[in-house]
Subunit: 126 residues, 2 copies
DNA sequence: ATAAAAACAGTAATCATTACTATTTTGCGA
DNA sequence: TCGCAAAATAGTAATGATTACTGTTTTTAT
């Protein structure tokens, strides 16, 4: 990722302009509003590059799609297994990271906590 | 999942007999040692059923494969982004679950914590 | 024993992701 | 400013994990 490109800037803006955790195809559709000819391969390549350079993170949930997040601060995620939304939550403590680094002797570079369950909306709308 | 089947039993045994977090194709290859004619579709179907009935859990990491775990106790996972192994860790506390349920008003049914980083072995073998 | 329901093996289809190619854009040094 | 090598792009083809389908076999209950 040495050279500037308009496409990469648009993709990053899309991610930074939402607090959702979108899939590639959603990012693609949003980017096309600004750049109608942008290629899907370009979206994939730039997401990989942006992740590699630490400007975005990837969120893995069990729906078979890649999800990305423009918020790189350490935070928690809640995944609703009913509506399949991913919610952000502030991280109340960082004790776990320290605990694991000491006990496993590992170096933790990213912290991704996923809680699965049923969210407030979904538990109301049975 | 109303009827017994030998195939389902073998698949569950495979998962309960390892402390790794195998992919479908690994489970398939292990199951074939006992049942040489078992079908890949049968493995997928039973993994879905076993997960639905709470006998196994799915672990999502960003490698594009489904991973499963025969240990359904609440515990943490560490994912090495170098060797791509997933490690189990005991959960030192359950405060986060309570915190989130109170603050989000949600009902958490599963707790999946993934730490990404580089594990002990991989940090030695540069 | 028998019949309906469930599960199976085997194969084909789907579709998110990756790879490839020819063309265009970017950055840098002359 | 010009030219060139590196990087990036659009568009298309290939890959491969997962799902769907079909005809047959197994299971369970009557």
């Amino acid at each position: 990722m040495k050279n500037y490109s308009k496409q990469r800037e648009v993709i990053l803006n899309v991610l930074q302009g939402t607090n959702t955790h979108p899939t590639v195809s959603w990012i693609y559709s949003q980017a096309r509003k600004t750049l109608p000819n942008i290629s899907l391969g370009t979206v994939y390549r730039n997401l990989t590059e942006l992740k590699k350079s630490g400007q975005i993170i990837e969120v893995s949930v069990e729906d078979g799609f890649q999800h990305f997040d423009g918020n790189t601060d350490t935070h928690l995620h809640f995944y609703c297994t009913k509506c399949h939304n991913i919610y952000d939550c502030a991280c109340p403590e960082n004790q776990l990271k320290n605990y694991l680094e000491e006990n496993l002797g590992c170096n933790i570079t990213e912290q991704k906590l996923i809680f699965n369950g049923v969210c407030k909306n979904c538990s109301v709308n049975i």
